[in-house]
């Protein structure tokens, strides 16, 4: 059996990695959508997917990664990497939608300010991103909270393998089914503490930087 600290650490590493990956493609996408009007429908599509059920993402990814699936040859099913990919896909709509809102509020005004001060396009982009940092950080933290709290993806493509893919949420599900409520509740409280801490952190970052 996994120890609680190792489960907690694994969950943070997996969800942290998924958040980093999702951030790497979501924020550039949100920036381009905020500066190119023709990409707005794409943002609407992401907004519609914000609440996508985690089991559905898990199921779709399972179909792709299973031995008979188109990506079965990668051998990723029931690995931590599969959970990372699944969680990254799961939080992408949230990250794109929230980052787009943050950037579209500011990008036009700041782009114009940078332009009137003689900035090049890349300098203007850096300025917009740097000024939007508090809001973008909040959206990343929200993404992490969603990733670490999800169960469907971790269970379906991770397989809840002890010492490998067992996360806090899959452990809570397992302990509950085994009647080990004290362990389930302990992990639940740790999970709650992590998400609340990150939420407070997001608020503090925003207040400090703005």
């Amino acid at each position: 059996m996994d120890s609680l600290p190792s489960i907690v650490a694994r969950s943070i590493i997996i969800s942290g990695s998924a958040t980093l990956i999702a951030t790497a493609w979501s924020i550039p996408l949100a920036y381009h959508a905020s500066t190119h009007r023709r990409l707005t429908p794409l943002v609407y599509a992401f907004e519609a997917l914000v609440g996508i059920p985690t089991v559905l993402v898990g199921l779709l990814l399972y179909a792709l990664l299973s031995r008979q699936g188109p990506l079965g040859w990668l051998g990723l099913l029931y690995t931590p990497q599969a959970i990372v990919i699944g969680e990254a896909l799961l939080i992408t709509p949230l990250l794109v939608a929230v980052s787009y809102r943050v950037l579209s509020e500011k990008s036009r005004e700041l782009w114009e300010l940078a332009a009137t001060l003689g900035a090049t396009s890349s300098q203007a982009a850096r300025l917009v991103l740097s000024e939007s940092l508090p809001g973008l950080t909040s959206s990343v933290i929200m993404g992490f909270s969603r990733a670490i709290g999800e169960l469907g993806v971790a269970l379906i493509v991770g397989g809840n393998i002890a010492g490998l893919t067992r996360t806090m949420t899959t452990s809570i599900a397992l302990y509950t089914s085994m009647g080990e409520y004290d362990k389930a509740i302990t992990l639940g409280l740790i999970l709650l503490a992590i998400t609340v801490t990150f939420s407070i952190l997001a608020r503090a970052v925003r207040r400090e930087w703005e």
Binding site: L113, T116, G118, E131, L133, E210
Partner: protein, 238 residues
């Protein structure tokens, strides 16, 4: 020191809008002269200034700055470094007032020490050197206008296009802005001021245009335009 900015029969339509914000406007902003841009809300004043600053590209017509169309010869960024537009509600960046004033210099790669020296000097001339360490976002509207003007002045612009520079500015800061503008124009800088405030424009601008629904309907001295408006409204002339 100033640059001549000529807009020839320019048209502009904002994306998603049915009506053109500018409909065939021709005007010249000359060096060493303050041109007032008057008109009611949504007349096209801001659009006109932004076009003169090469921030908006005309959908029809031409903008010539020193005889050159920046949109055709690819010199837009270069032009923006000579012609500076100051927003009606100047956006302030995170950080201090000093950070905001040094920003344009940092964008140009000026060493920090030199940028700070120039910024402090400019802030002193505008009487805002006492607020350099304050958070820019916490400033009052009047202070924001002064910081925005300082942020433009550190660039030593050849043309300064001010959008409602005195709107919501208190009586203490108003004379500072007026004095600064007058000094600039004495040094040959091209200045255009969009404003609702006819009284202030009378003190500053030697020439003005009056826009309505994207068209120039009057041009001449501010007094002539004010008189024309009074006659149009059928009110007694004071």
């Amino acid at each position: 020191m100033g640059v001549e900015i000529k807009l020839e029969n320019v048209h502009y339509r904002y994306p998603g809008q049915d009506r053109e914000a500018l409909q065939g406007v021709t005007v010249t902003f000359k060096p060493g002269r303050i041109t007032g841009v008057m008109g009611p809300n949504a007349a096209g004043k801001t659009t006109l200034l932004k076009m003169a600053a090469a921030l908006l590209k005309p959908v029809k017509g031409r903008v010539k700055i020193m005889g050159v169309d920046p949109w055709r010869d690819g010199s837009v960024v270069h032009v923006r470094r000579r012609v500076v537009y100051v927003h009606e509600k100047p956006p302030m960046l995170r950080g201090t007032v000093l950070d905001n004033i040094t920003l344009p210099l940092r964008l140009r790669g000026m060493p920090k020490k030199e940028a700070v020296r120039l910024a402090v000097e400019t802030a002193r001339s505008l009487g805002i050197d006492n607020i350099l360490k304050e958070r820019a976002k916490a400033l009052s509207t009047g202070q924001r206008h002064l910081v925005a003007i300082a942020r433009a002045l550190v660039l030593m612009p050849e043309a300064l296009l001010l959008d409602e520079p005195l709107a919501n500015v208190d009586h203490i800061r108003r004379p500072i802005i007026i004095k600064t503008v007058k000094e600039l124009v004495r040094n040959g800088v091209t200045i255009a001021i969009a404003s609702h405030d006819t009284l202030t424009l009378t003190q500053l601008a030697s020439h003005a245009i009056y826009l309505e629904e994207g068209r120039i309907i009057m041009e001449g001295s501010v007094e002539d335009i004010a008189r024309g408006l009074t006659l149009q409204e059928g009110l007694p002339d004071h």
